[in-house]
C-alpha cells in the first residue's frame, strides 16, 4: 500500500510539470487563484481564459482524454488525473470551457456525424467556441424528464418554443446542447428530442438570474420560434432522454468538491478567535466540531485516492465518488455557519476579508447542494444504483405527458 507513482506515471508527471512551470505561475498557497488584469466583468477574464486554452491546445494539453483527431491527446484516465493534480498547483484562468468539454463534447462524440465532430470538437477543445447546457426548466429540475420546451418539425426544420433556466454561461456561449419535448402525447421519457444549436439564432434571449450571493452566474434562456435544422438533432426523435443520460453521467463526474471554506479555514479561525476568554480551539465543543469536519475532509480525500488507485491499477473506479458532492456541500455550509458563530457579532459585517469569505460560502452553499443533482437526488442514486434498492413508485411513468397533473409551483 503506497501513494507512489509508477515509473510511467512519474515520467508523465515530470513532463506535465516541465511544461506548466515554463508557461504558468505556481501558487504560493493552495487558495491562490488566477486574477485577470482588467476590472471584473469587462471580459478580460474570458479573453485570458481563451488565450490560455489556446496555448494548452497548441501544446497538446487540451481535453487530454479525447482522441487526437478531435483536438485531444488520447491520454489514459490516470494521465488525466495527474494533469489535474499538477495543474491545480498553478494559477491559471478557467471556468468557461468545462460544460462544453465535459458534457457537450462526449454527447457529440457519441451522437454527431463525423463531419460535425470535425467541425465542432476541435474549436471546443481550443476554447475558440464556448458551449452551454440547456436542460433545466422552471417546472423541471430534479424531475428533468418533465420539461416542456416544445419542438415541432416542419420539413427538415424544427421550431423551438419555451424556456430554460439555470443555464451557466449562456450569455457568452456560442453553442448549446438542448433537450426538448417533441411529443406531448407520449409518456414523459419517450417524447423528448435532443439538439445542439447556435446561441446566436434569432429568437434566443438570455436573461441573467440574480442569485442569493448577489452574483449572476446563471441565466434564463427564452426560445421564441427558434429554428434548428434537423441535421443538428442528436439521437433519434423521441430518444432525447437516453441522450440526456450521457450528459448527466458526465455532469456528475465533472462536479467535484464544493469550493469555499473548508477545514483549514475553520481550523485557522478557531486559533484566532476567542471563546469565553480563551482561544476558541481550546474549547472542547469547538474541538469536537473540528474533528468531525476533519474526518469528513480526510474521508473524501482518501476516497478520491482509492479511486485514483483503482485507475492506476487499470480498473474502473467504484461508485464511491458519488458521495463527494453531498458531503462537501453540506460541510461547506456547516463550516461557514460555524465560522460566523465563532466570529460572533463581527461575523455579519462585510468589510473584513475573513468574515466576507465565510459569508460568501454560507450564501453560496445552498446552490451547491442543489446544482448538478440535489442531495436528495444523489441519495436516490446511491440507494438505487450503488446499493441496488428499488425505484420509488412513479405515478407519471406510463401516462401521456399532457395528462400528468402539475401544481401551482410548476
Amino acid at each position: 500500500m503506497d501513494f507512489n507513482d509508477t515509473k510511467e506515471e512519474a515520467q508523465f508527471r515530470e513532463e506535465v510539470n516541465n511544461w506548466l512551470s515554463k508557461n504558468a505561475e505556481k501558487k504560493q498557497h493552495a487558495r491562490d487563484i488566477y486574477k485577470a488584469a482588467g476590472i471584473p466583468g469587462d471580459g478580460t477574464a474570458l479573453q485570458d481564459a481563451k488565450k490560455w486554452q489556446e496555448k494548452l491546445y497548441d501544446a497538446g494539453w487540451a481535453c487530454l482524454h479525447w482522441p487526437k483527431d478531435y483536438g485531444g491527446r488520447d491520454a489514459s484516465p490516470m494521465e488525466r488525473v495527474i494533469w489535474g493534480q499538477e495543474m491545480s498547483k498553478y494559477k491559471v484562468p478557467g471556468g468557461y470551457f468545462e460544460i462544453g468539454q465535459g458534457m457537450a463534447g462526449p454527447v457529440l462524440m457519441t451522437y454527431a456525424t463525423e463531419e460535425q465532430k470535425q467541425r465542432y470538437l476541435p474549436p471546443m477543445a481550443k476554447g475558440e467556441e464556448i458551449w452551454c447546457q440547456l436542460f433545466s426548466e422552471p417546472g423541471a429540475g430534479s424531475d428533468l424528464a418533465g420539461i416542456k420546451t416544445k419542438a415541432e418539425l416542419d420539413g427538415d426544420t424544427w421550431t423551438i418554443n419555451g424556456q430554460k433556466v439555470w443555464t451557466s454561461g449562456a450569455q457568452y456561449s456560442d453553442y448549446g446542447i438542448l433537450v426538448t419535448r417533441s411529443d406531448f402525447s407520449a409518456p414523459k421519457h419517450k417524447g423528448l428530442t435532443y439538439f445542439f444549436l447556435d446561441m446566436k439564432s434569432p429568437g434566443v434571449e438570455v436573461r441573467p438570474i440574480k442569485q442569493i450571493t448577489g452574483g449572476s452566474g446563471f441565466n434564463e434562456v427564452y426560445f421564441t420560434d427558434v429554428k434548428i435544422p434537423d441535421s443538428q438533432r442528436l439521437g433519434e426523435v423521441g430518444d432525447g432522454w437516453k441522450v440526456s443520460l450521457t450528459t448527466l453521467m458526465n455532469e456528475r463526474l465533472a462536479v467535484g468538491d464544493a469550493s469555499g471554506v473548508d477545514f483549514q479555514e475553520i481550523f485557522d479561525l478557531a486559533k484566532e478567535q476567542d471563546f469565553n476568554g480563551d482561544q476558541a480551539i481550546k474549547n472542547g465543543s469547538v474541538r469536537e466540531k473540528l474533528a468531525d469536519w476533519y474526518c469528513e475532509q480526510s474521508g473524501l480525500k482518501y476516497t478520491k485516492m482509492r479511486n485514483i488507485s483503482a485507475l492506476s491499477q487499470g480498473s474502473t473506479p467504484g461508485p464511491e465518488a458519488s458521495i463527494t458532492k453531498i458531503v462537501s456541500a453540506n460541510k461547506l455550509q456547516d463550516i461557514a455557519n460555524y465560522g460566523m458563530d465563532l466570529m460572533d457579532s463581527g461575523s455579519i459585517v462585510r468589510n473584513d476579508d475573513t468574515s466576507a469569505l465565510f459569508q460568501g460560502s454560507l450564501l453560496g452553499a445552498p446552490l451547491i447542494r442543489i446544482a448538478g443533482g440535489t442531495d436528495e437526488v444523489l441519495k436516490n442514486i446511491i440507494a438505487e444504483q450503488v446499493l441496488g434498492m428499488p425505484q420509488d413508485v412513479r405515478v407519471d411513468k406510463n401516462v401521456p405527458f399532457n395528462e400528468i397533473p402539475t401544481g401551482s409551483k410548476n
Partner: protein
Amino acid sequence: MNFSFSNEQILMQEEVKKLLDKENSVKRNRTILEGEEKFDQELWKSLVAMGLTATTIPEEYGGIGMGFLELCVIAEELGRGIAPVPFSSSVYLATTAILNSSNEEIKKEYLPKLANGEIIGTFAHSEKTSFPDETGIAVTVKGNKISGQKIAVPDGDIADFAIVSASSGKKVGLYIVDLKDKKVSIETLDTFDPSRSHANVSFDGATATSLEDDAWTSIEKLLDQSAVLFAFEQVGGAEAAMNMAKEYAMGRYAFGRAIASFQAIKHKVADMYISLQLARSNCYYGAWALSNDSSELPTAAATARVSATKAFYECSKENIQTHGGMGATWEFDCHLFYRRARLLSSNIGSQGIWKDKLITSLEKSNSPA
C-alpha cells in the same frame, strides 16, 4: 499508485470471512451473550488454527511474519461477524505491545505462545471512570511489585497475562503481569455486551516486568496502532449492519410495496453508506500509516477511529429503526450489532477522547490535509 490492499491480502480476507460464515459467528455471539461461557473457545481455536493470532509475529518468534495490513483485513471480518473472541485484546493490543518492546526475553517467552494460541493476553489501562491521561494512572510499581486496580478490563477474566499501564513514581510505562499470580484478583462484570467478557483486575503486590519502553509515548503509540485495527473492526460491523437494513427493507412490504422503495428508507440507507465510505477511506489511510510506521500515525489513527466509531453507531442504530418493532426484539440480531458498536466505542477510549487527540495531533503537525 497503489492505495489498496494486495490481491493476497484480499484473498486472505475472503478466507477469514468464509471461516466466520461457516462457523456462524453471529449466532455464536448470541450463544455467548445468553450463556455462561466467557468466550467461544471453539471459534477461537479455529482462528488460531488458521494462524490469525500469529499474523504479525515474526517467524523467529514462532509467527508467520506478515504485517499490520493483513491484520486490518482480519479485523474487518471479525467486526462483520461480531466474533465473541478475545482477539482485539490478545492480538491488536497485547501482541503489539510486546512486538513494540525492546525486551528480548519477554518476546521470546510470550510471542511463540501468543502465536500458537497457547496463551491469551489483554491490555489493562482504564481506572476509575474516565479514560486515563498521563496523570490519571494510580496503579503503581515499586521494585517489581504492582498494586492498584484496573476496571472493566476487556477479557480480563479470560487472559493469562495483561499488559498494564502503571506508574513507577517517576514515569508511567507498560508492564507485563501474569494474571494467574496469586496476588491478582479478578472479578467478572455484568456488562452492556456480554458477548465479550470484562473484569475488574486488582493487583496486590503481584510481580510486574517492565516492557522497557519509553514511558507514556509507548502507551500513546500502542493506542494509535490498535485504534486503526479497532476502526477496521468497526467498519466491518457497520457494513454488516447496513446490509442487514437494506436486505430487510427489500423484503419487507408495507402500503403495497417494498419499504426499500420509499425515499425515507433509501435516504437512511444512503446516509449509512456515506458514513461507511468516509470511515473506510480513513481506515485505509490509517492502515497505510500503521504499516509504514509513519509520523502521521497519530492523525491517521484518530481520524480512522473517530469516523469508524461514528459509522458503526449510525449503521447499527438505523438498522434497528429500519427493522421497525422487530428490530427491537431480543430475537432479531440487530441488537447484537448495536451492543457491539457501543462496546467497541468504549474500548481504548471513547469518541470525545479520540476527537481531542485528533485535534491535538493536528495542532502539533500544523499541516492538516
